[in-house]
Subunit: 347 residues, 2 copies
Amino acid sequence: MRPTVHDIADTAGVSLATVDRVLNDRPGVRGVTKAKVEAAIATLGYVRDVAAANLAKSRVYPLVFILPAGDNPFMRGLEAEVRRAGFHSAAERTRLSVVPVPAFDAAALVAAIDGAVADQVSGIAAVAVDAPEVAAAIGRAHAAGVPVVTLVSDLANSGRDHFVGVDNVAAGRTAGSLMGRFLGNRPGPVAVLAGSMRVRDHRERLDGFLATIAEMPVGRAVLPVLEGQDDPKLSLSLVSGCLASTPDLAGIYSLGAGNQGLVAALADRTDLCVIAHELTAHTRAALETGIIDAVLNQDAGHEVRSAIRVLRAKADGLPVIAAQERIRLDIFIKDNLPAGPDEDDNN
Amino acid sequence: MRPTVHDIADTAGVSLATVDRVLNDRPGVRGVTKAKVEAAIATLGYVRDVAAANLAKSRVYPLVFILPAGDNPFMRGLEAEVRRAGFHSAAERTRLSVVPVPAFDAAALVAAIDGAVADQVSGIAAVAVDAPEVAAAIGRAHAAGVPVVTLVSDLANSGRDHFVGVDNVAAGRTAGSLMGRFLGNRPGPVAVLAGSMRVRDHRERLDGFLATIAEMPVGRAVLPVLEGQDDPKLSLSLVSGCLASTPDLAGIYSLGAGNQGLVAALADRTDLCVIAHELTAHTRAALETGIIDAVLNQDAGHEVRSAIRVLRAKADGLPVIAAQERIRLDIFIKDNLPAGPDEDDNN
DNA sequence: CTGTTAGCGCATTCAA
DNA sequence: TTGAATGCGCTAACAG
């Protein structure tokens, strides 16, 4: 059997309580005693049974996810993943809740953050809106000892403890690279559809995309960004207008919002090279029919689980293993589409 | 707080032991009593705390991974992931071990399987070799009540409980699709490098690839398969020979073995479209220098963790959630390469 | 500064 | 057929 706290207590000649103190480095242990215990730990190769530890603690960790309301499919997917994680969170002794706030509404986000702090939660995950008052609220939470992670869209200089999301510049580069390869030497400009240039993740994706297109051997123009405000109708009309006014359009890069309008505007035009972000019912269907050529995706399930792990670690004052919490950028084409509309695992 | 067994016992007016009996549906409970308890469980919305249950059981699950020896980087990566999982497996009360067997050696694999069964392990994960005696050994293990999962390469009709790995036909299709798009209307045949056509996963990948290439609007010839036997030198000479004898060669698809020789043979030829399987040090470097255009990957970490979950579930007689255990096929290009040589999470 | 003791939620002997 | 009591490995009062 694996060594237990009793074993180290015995071989170190101390009591359980003392062992526990050095294990959780709590104060009130003499240097020599501590050394003895640590020696015993080392020689026995002790590893703490976290399950038992959590059981004994019987502490619960109320974690709150502050997510944009509305019917953005990706955000709704995130929420679904939180609920799914909540189901299994029993063993982890976490209590998950979701607080919806109007999208792009800095004031509402600030209120939600302050509210969570007032509620004594042990961690906050929020999709950041890029505004100074939001940074200030995050700062207050941090000052109050409540760990905060930004989700999907980051907010630097806010004092957030961690960012859970993909490298959006790399995502843009990936899109540009695929677009360039798929188009080959076919002439014609490409268009870009964004939700809003006021959100950081979209800006970063665009930067990466433009840089890669510029590096291509084949020169290619990028039309001015279409801002669809995540509104299906507006997105549809913008894309339709672009198609009408640019007969030689070769491709479209959708930064992540307005995919429904985009697909509607394209109808059955499979001749363009279209690359979009986020795998949802709309993009999946369009991928299958050939309207969209590739979808770049961040796995909402992985993000939620990573956020939970990070918040718990921060709440316990434990270190975060950065390499383990890196969120991958998935590339999907028609042929490697995961089977169901249901998402995956683990992790 | 969440309801516990005590709460059920109280509201049902029975003892803990009785509650436990119906929870784990063990014999020795009258129908009426059982009904009362089940009613209490339902009304209270009880969910069992698995961590506490495992702690109380203090049962350990010795699981053995039978992996091909040798220096195939992917297999060594798998082994590394088993060790990594073993580190965290403490909380899961699993005891992981790795048994190396010579690659492609059916007899050795059979011996290893029978040995594990003799050792009373509670589960076996093995990279299957496609041979009847292996199927028979798996059948014996199954008959002895030891669950078996095949890893990476499957073996149907063997009675294995589950297969952990990617859909290799879809993987081949993905490769063919990318190859076709990247090449566009550039003329020239493509070559295929395999380890051996005797392993099922390679055969399936080839099938998918050929099918997709055949469906392409641009007709394209596929040269006879080069079998490198997972030997760097042989692979190198085969590819070199092919390059010499086929000046208009447009692309190469590497089914998964011999990437080191492939990269060596290509030297600094970045004009070919090269798609390979498995992200290793060699393929990663070649992706960065442009020798390889895309790498298809199955995440070894996910596979190992999935195998563990499945074996534990089988050992406990619990159902496996198929959707949750599906292994994804990752596409990597230069731009979405994960940062470190170190792998990830979760999960 | 260190040790004793009593649980956390569940499984499991051993009695009744 | 049912129940009482004990312990899994660890944490946390509370004493000393």
